[in-house]
């Protein structure tokens, strides 16, 4: 299965900019389906970015984050070719992980 995470990490000397797009329904638990029944909550709770094993960014999310979430941040101390590992877990115990090379 293709990864649910798409990530682009580019460094320009000192600062590495990371943009990530994750495929996830992010159901809030307030939306009804076509039959008028509530769709149970299903959303990413924790999203972690680690560069060379060191955590550089941790997101705690509630259901108010949009479907197929997008996130952008930057950090210092990485160089071209370093590994950036992204992992998430959701409220139903689902998870995914991917590793990208910093370009």
């Amino acid at each position: 299965m293709a990864s649910s995470i798409r990530v682009r990490a580019t460094t320009n000397g000192d600062i590495t900019e990371v943009q990530a797009l994750i495929q996830h329904p992010m159901d809030s638990g307030f939306v009804k389906d076509a039959k008028g029944e509530l769709i149970p909550p299903h959303f990413i709770q924790e999203l972690k970015f680690a560069c060379n094993g060191k955590e550089v960014f941790v997101a705690d999310w509630g259901p108010a984050v949009s479907k197929d979430p997008y996130i952008k941040f930057s950090f210092k101390g990485a160089k071209k070719g370093d590994d950036l590992t992204i992992s998430w877990t959701d409220n139903k115990g689902g998870s995914d992980q991917t590793t990208a090379k910093i370009a």
Binding site: V31, W61, Y70
Partner: protein
């Protein structure tokens, strides 16, 4: 006559219960420094709070003061409340976390980010908004909380209904 709670009363449920109990326990100690934002656990309780003030309290255990050093970038009008691009930048030093609150969502806390040393205090994300209301960004810097607020007009709500 069955006592079981759901289809799968799994380990997860039990763990969630334990976390809740732990958080309540912490709340009883007046000077407990280990708030949800300070440790690695998912701040379950803070996400359950309905109002913005309660959520801030549950997450950080203190109140925030407005600061012009926190810059919240959000649209004046969001046509689609399901996807509202919101970002925050700050010139403050020693930032340890950044959180986003949408005042009149069913649960005010939308997202909370931990900023370790070496990570820039700049975050962009996309949030859902139920209706026209204030978006509040909280920046925790050097142990204090600073906030920026902006009203976003929503034409179509993004939380169902």
């Amino acid at each position: 006559m069955t006592t079981h709670i759901g289809p799968h009363p799994t380990r997860r449920l039990i763990l969630q219960g334990a976390v809740t109990v732990a958080l309540i326990g912490l709340g009883n100690l007046p000077y407990a420094p280990a708030r949800a934002a300070a440790n690695d656990k998912y701040p379950e309780e803070a996400f359950k709070q309905k109002s913005e003030a309660d959520a801030i309290k549950a997450l950080y255990g203190k109140t925030a003061e407005p600061s012009d050093k926190v810059k919240l970038d959000a649209p004046e009008i969001a046509e689609n409340g399901a996807v509202v691009p919101i970002s925050v930048t700050t010139t403050l030093d020693k930032v340890t976390s950044i959180s986003f609150f949408v005042a009149e969502n069913p649960n005010a806390l939308a997202a909370s980010y931990k900023i370790p040393d070496g990570t820039m205090p700049v975050v962009a994300n996309r949030l859902k908004m139920a209706k026209t209301t204030n978006v509040v960004a909280i920046v925790e810097a050097d142990g204090k909380l600073f906030s920026a607020t902006k009203e976003v007009k929503v034409t179509v709500g993004g939380c169902g209904g």
